[in-house]
């Protein structure tokens, strides 16, 4: 039995729930960010508590920042620029969104952004339409203003073979939703682009000894490596000896198991355990899981 929680206005294009499911942020074609709150945890009806004009062109994607860094969202707008907004209202009842930071990029558009936390440091992975991937780090955990570019690379297993400027339509990033602080920092990234080598989903791990990001696994069968990837999602590990990651391509949704023990070269074992097909997935129509 489904239950309607709220209705959205005409023009809403995207939505995202915060960590506790108490707030939902939506973006619309006119560049407005709207926040719906449920009031108290017991009620399940949501009302719009604030709106902020965050861009001139429409908002394409909204992503919440991990709660330990504040009530904040990242917005990707139609022009491909990324901005961070935070709720800094002093009054418990009011909601006030302030702009913290914008990331302008001259040529490339931002396709996806996701946040990960590693030992109290907030990291942000941004995928661009020219095939570049940038990792930023927050300098001061108390404010969201100062970010440092930590790494820049392309989604290729062989880092030497850098490709020329690619043209990517969409990208998908998913961090390993780890809870303890001690585990390795990893995320999985896939592209939907015209450069086949960039497409397949690769698992990236931060190598602390050499202070750089290395690919430790590729989630595609050899014959499928050129397939465009529409969406990826990393499942939380609740005590399994392997990790479960879902990858969506035009062939369907594939479920992968990622082993925990690296081999001699530092690569992790990958195994595709299921393929759910049967969806009428056309280019651009199938966008995620």
């Amino acid at each position: 039995m489904e239950k309607s929680l709220t209705t959205l206005e005409n023009g809403t294009t995207c939505s995202s729930w915060n960590y506790s499911g108490q707030r939902i942020a939506t973006g619309s074609v006119d560049g407005t960010l709207s926040i719906f709150d449920s009031g108290d945890p017991a009620s399940t009806s949501f009302k719009c508590t604030s709106k902020a004009r965050v861009s001139e062109s429409g908002v394409v994607k909204v992503v919440w920042i991990p709660p330990v860094f504040g009530d904040a969202v990242a917005c990707i707008d139609g022009n491909g620029s990324l901005s961070l907004w935070e709720d800094l209202a002093e009054d418990a009842q009011a909601v006030e969104w302030k702009h913290c930071k914008s990331f302008q990029s001259n040529s490339a558009k931002v396709l996806d952004v996701q946040f990960g936390v590693f030992r109290t440091i907030l990291k942000m992975v941004v995928a661009y339409s020219d095939g570049q991937v940038k990792v930023y780090e927050l300098s001061n955990p108390l404010e969201l203003k100062n970010w440092q570019l930590q790494a820049e690379f392309q989604n290729l297993t062989d880092s030497v073979a850098k490709s020329a400027k690619a043209s990517c339509f969409s990208a998908s990033i998913s961090w390993n939703p780890q809870r303890g602080g001690g585990q390795e920092l990893r995320f999985v990234l896939g592209f939907n682009s015209d450069t086949p080598q960039l497409n397949s989903s690769k698992v990236w791990e931060f190598d602390l000894d050499h202070q750089r990001w290395v690919p430790v696994g590729e989630l595609a069968l050899p014959e499928d490596r050129k397939d465009q990837v529409f969406s990826v999602a990393w499942a939380p590990n609740i005590g399994r000896p392997y990790e479960v990651i879902a990858v969506a391509t035009h062939k369907g949704i594939a479920l992968w198991h990622l082993g925990s023990n690296p081999d001699v070269q530092g690569r992790l074992a990958v195994e595709r355990v299921a393929l759910l097909s049967g969806y009428e997935a056309g280019f651009g129509k199938w966008n995620g899981i």
Partner: protein, 726 residues
């Protein structure tokens, strides 16, 4: 376990993918697992999916943005929430289900702790104490505790005057199929004492639950209820064929009190009829007496019920044969010829045939195979023992009374009789919901070794967990989906060795921390289960929430509780920024308060010490200035000197401190700082001037002539001090 919800087009990324058991058809045609109604008009452009707590899925459905200004009335999208998975029996209300869920927590927890202590005793190879009960007795206690929760008591008012027409006794509780199923499980698997009287137990069970065993077909119970309503209208009850039909049916299933009551409604008992219908009445009464003396193979009989009980087989056999002989004698007596009323004669003869165990008559008197089965136990084979023979008898009865759409209770019964553990588990889950299977597993494993092995085996395809753990996790996920029940989920999760703690951590991390009460409750749960990492994380989130929304004191408190050194040191550095600047009023109080809260322990000890001293100095200075108090001024001088002497005072703050202290240097009433102190300060100033020449020196934000001003003031003070000491 929840599967992946197919959408026509989707966007957004879910928070969790529980990909253990995924329903997946290999045909190209994918059948919808759940059709979602959102009430929006097409075209639907995007769907965004996110997991809420437990099994609840939140789906945002977006329509194509309408550029047409005329269609203002259309909504752009809708957010719906769906709870996946079959949670429970459709018959029970929400409130009743919650009562059962809350009530079953303590029996479950008690049983688990007993299990653990028994296991640890056996590991230590200690012999159990004489007070130690057998395992099945513990499970029996557990079963009784839960069974008491399952009934739905109706407040039945006992009638003051017993209505002679009231054949059917009013029930104290409304029967529920959940309770029926639970009692079946208890009867067959746990209750070792009644294993010998299993057939009689089933007779009692049917008496309680006959109303539930079939949805569409009539049962004896339904026939009785129907007739009950019409008794009043009937003039001559013994003329109605339904009367005799009903008596036979009730006799066949062993509801002897009802039979006798119905018989006594016979017209021949009426005072005005007694003269004419003596023989008839005699026959009716004879049959009634025979029925009330029916021997039963059971230890005891409830009050108000009729029949004679025998515990030992030889006694029973003797009584049985005697009883049968009496029936046969009655059957062949001469009085039947003298009985005028045809229906009575035929009806009573039919009843005698039932009592003699005539299969055809039994078959025609009963409606459902279960009733026929019971009648076999009563009249044909009272010594049936062992599940195999019970199962083959059941199959024979099913063949005789075939039904196409068996009720879930019946399917469960067949699974139990057939000793087919997988079927039993599957029927519990399918027919009665996750609560049933999570709790009834304890009953099943107590009764059957094979079930114990089946349920505790670790399976690779489930990620290394056993079936028992799987069902508990599924139940816990269900509990987590509802706001009012998520707090009892931890008890089930912590009994799951492999994946329970992981799910518990996820559950706790999704709790909001804005309200203090909720936060404290969650922290208590973390403390109970020793989840220190989670409680630190929750406290950090709370601390940052308060910090960002202006409640800095609260924030520092929570961050200290969480031992978050990184953020606390950042806060301390922010406080350093205020050194040397003129802050007053509210912001000074806040600054001062924060320093106080931060305390002087921890990694920042040196820096915080300095801040404390500096704060004291500023306070004294403010006092001195505002009240022109010489004592306060002297105190300020003391703190100034201790600051400047202290090695932990960072060099970059020397000039700001001295600049602040200029007011002390030019005190009207006389020099406050003596010669040696002034010399020390001048030396420090000299050091500072030299240090300024170094490339990495950071200039404090002070007016450009600050250094000279301070030097001038110090010089003046030196002069006055020397003069004063002469």
């Amino acid at each position: 376990m929840p599967g992946l919800a197919p959408g026509d087009s989707a966007g957004g990324v879910p928070d969790s993918v529980n990909g253990t058991l995924v329903p997946y058809s290999s045909d190209s045609h994918v059948s919808a697992i759940y059709p979602l109604r959102h009430g929006l008009n097409p075209p639907i452009s995007r769907v965004s999916v996110s997991w809420g707590r437990g099994n609840s899925l939140r789906v945002s459905v977006f329509r194509q943005p309408d550029s047409d200004p005329k269609s203002d009335g259309e909504v752009g999208g809708r957010v719906v929430e769906v709870t996946l998975g079959k949670s429970r029996d459709g018959e029970i209300s929400d409130a009743q289900w919650r009562k059962i869920a809350y009530g079953s927590v303590s029996p479950f927890a008690l049983l688990q702790s007993r299990k653990n202590s028994t296991a640890s005793l056996s590991r230590m190879q200690l012999s159990p104490s004489p007070y130690h009960l057998e395992w099945w007795e513990y499970v029996m206690e557990y079963s009784k505790d839960i069974s008491s929760l399952l009934g739905d008591p109706k407040t039945a008012l006992a009638p003051l005057i017993e209505d002679p027409n009231e054949v059917f006794p009013k029930k104290v509780e409304e029967p529920s199929s959940l309770k029926a199923a639970w009692e079946l499980m208890e009867m067959f698997y746990v209750d070792k004492l009644s294993q010998a009287w299993l057939p009689e137990r089933l007779v009692d069970w049917l008496a309680d639950y006959d109303s539930l065993i079939s949805i569409d077909l009539p049962t004896v119970h339904s026939k009785l209820v129907e007739f009950q309503n019409q008794i009043v209208t009937l003039q001559v009850i013994e003329d109605d064929p339904r009367y005799w039909d009903l008596i036979s049916s009730a006799l066949a299933v062993g509801w002897l009190e009802i039979v006798v009551k119905l018989l006594r409604l016979h017209g021949s008992y009426r005072l005005d009829q007694l003269g004419r219908r003596e023989t008839e009445n005699g026959l009716v009464e004879a049959v009634a007496v025979l029925i009330s003396k029916m021997p039963r193979m059971r230890p005891a009989i409830d009050a108000g019920k009729i029949g004679e009980c025998f515990k030992a087989k030889p006694d029973f056999v003797k009584a049985w044969e005697r009883w049968r002989a009496q029936i046969t004698k009655l059957d062949s007596s001469a009085f039947w010829v003298q009985c005028d009323h045809r229906q009575t004669r035929e009806g009573l003869k039919n009843m005698l045939q039932i009592m003699l165990g005539n299969v055809d008559v039994l078959c025609s008197s009963t409606c459902h195979w279960m009733e026929l089965y019971i009648s076999h136990f009563l009249y044909i084979r009272p010594f049936t023992a062992g599940l195999e023979s019970m199962y083959s008898l059941a199959q024979k009865c099913i063949r005789l009374k075939h039904t196409s759409n068996p009720h879930k209770l019946m399917r469960l019964m067949i699974g139990i009789l057939g000793e087919n553990n997988e079927v039993v588990l599957a029927e519990c889950s399918r027919g009665f919901g996750t609560w049933m299977v999570a709790h009834a597993i304890e009953l099943l494993t107590a009764g059957s070794n094979e079930a114990d092995i089946l349920v505790h085996e670790e399976r690779e395809d489930l990620g290394g967990i056993s079936l028992e753990e799987l069902h508990r996790l599924v139940y816990a996920q269900l509990l987590s989906s509802h706001l009012l029940t998520w707090q009892i989920a931890p008890i089930y999760l912590t009994s799951c060795m492999r994946q329970g703690m992981g799910l518990l951590e996820i559950l706790l991390l999704k709790q909001p921390v804005q309200e203090n009460q909720m936060l404290l409750k969650n922290l208590e749960i973390c403390r109970l289960y020793e989840l220190d990492g989670i409680s630190s994380h929750l406290m950090e989130i709370s601390g940052m929430y308060h910090w960002k929304h202006g409640r800095k004191g609260c924030a520092v408190f929570w961050l200290q509780q969480a031992h978050d050194e990184v953020r606390l040191s950042r806060i301390a550095s922010q406080l350093f920024d205020s050194v040397g600047k003129s802050i007053s009023g509210e912001s000074f109080k806040q600054w001062e308060g924060l320093i106080e809260l931060l305390g002087s322990e921890g990694q920042l000890a040196g820096g915080l010490n300095f801040l404390h001293k500096y704060r004291d100095f500023k306070k004294c200075l403010q006092h001195a200035e505002s009240r022109k108090d010489a004592d306060a001024a002297r105190q300020a001088v003391e703190s100034l000197m201790s600051l400047m002497r202290n090695a932990s005072t960072p060099q970059r703050f020397w000039l700001p401190i001295l600049y602040d202290a200029v007011k002390l240097l030019s005190w009207d009433e006389g020099p406050l700082i003596n010669v040696s102190q002034t010399n020390l300060l001048l030396n420090k100033l000299q050091e500072l001037s030299v240090a300024r020449l170094r490339p990495d020196f950071v200039e404090p934000e002070l007016p450009t002539q600050a250094l000279n001003h301070v030097r001038y003031s110090l010089g003046t003070n030196l002069g006055r001090a020397i003069l004063g000491e002469l």
